[in-house]
Symmetry: C2
Subunit: 191 residues, 2 copies
């Protein structure tokens, strides 16, 4: 998505360790209009897949997920990283290891919101090692829900997550694919 690539070039900051900081429009401050465009693009890409539910994980996945849900007219479910005090039903859970934070988070979803009849679209802000999406896939597997694919705002294509998921047969649609951060500049994959 041209608009998104331009915004990453303009406002993204490359930090040591191949970390891309997009705090000004996605991970801390959010640009609602850009997220709306992102949501419409995901809705367009998956328009023929009869999506019944969006699944994401808090917190940075919520903005692109809710705009996709708005465009597709389906509910948005976000997995929680900490057990909420009002989550006392049976849960589907998965472990997600974060390479940047070096911690394992247990993510969970109330069983009543994910059904075997669901056609799920997974949405997340970043795809690097694929740990978060793998956790969400595991939760869908437990629910026997069908996964139609994953919509990713920014994929670090030089890391292994995208290839791993595609090899598993998961349809992964990334709106911006980063090839490298050479010379502190973001280089995108040329399609």
């Amino acid at each position: 998505m041209k608009l998104l690539e331009e915004r990453i070039k303009e406002d993204g900051l490359v930090l040591p360790g191949n970390v891309l900081k997009v705090n000004s429009f996605l991970n801390h401050q959010i640009d609602p209009e850009l997220m709306n465009t992102v949501g419409q693009e995901f809705a367009h890409l998956f328009r023929d897949n009869n999506i019944t539910r969006i699944l994401t994980v808090e917190s940075s996945g919520i903005a692109p997920a809710i705009m996709t849900g708005l465009a597709l007219h389906v509910p948005v479910l976000f997995a929680r990283k900490t057990k909420s005090s009002t989550m006392n039903n049976s849960l589907y859970t998965a472990d997600v290891y974060s390479y940047t934070k070096k911690v394992t988070n247990k993510i969970s979803v109330d069983q009543k919101f994910l059904l075997p009849t669901d056609n799920v679209l997974i949405i997340d802000d970043f795809l690097a090692n694929g740990q978060a999406v793998s956790g969400l896939l595991e939760i869908c597997r437990q629910a026997q829900a069908h996964v139609e694919g994953a919509g990713i705002v920014i994929e670090k294509a030089f890391q292994t997550g995208g290839a791993m998921l595609r090899e598993q047969g998961v349809r992964v649609e990334s709106l911006a694919r980063i090839a490298s951060f050479e010379d502190d500049t973001v280089h995108f994959v040329k399609e």
Copy 2:
């Protein structure tokens, strides 16, 4: 807001300890269309206040906040409960005590996203004891940003937060105001 009150009556669950569970459309699963209507209502209520930025706190505040930001065409900033690995700038921070979880969270905002020239609209999902909104007000005070008011999706009007904030001169607009949970039923404040 009639639509919201009806939804709370229909899908809300009253738990022991005056806890209202609205996991099916706000706190775990989100109804994007309802949130869009909520955002448009907040935008309407604060349309003459020259809002320049929305401030909320992760995670459940993000959905109503981003829809308000979309309607008002302003950026949405969410305070973080845990320090993100890419938040290495100077921060404004405040302590927020959660009565339901019985823990104190430090919430923080990158100083570069909140300016003395800002007219801030605070958005949150719930108002009970007013701890979260007070923390966000404290952050705005540190930034010397002007707060135009707070937009709350659901206010527990039988708890002290709303009165405390209004006594401080804060304009609080709540779309659903709960008077009591008598007989496990939600009773709204009659305006």
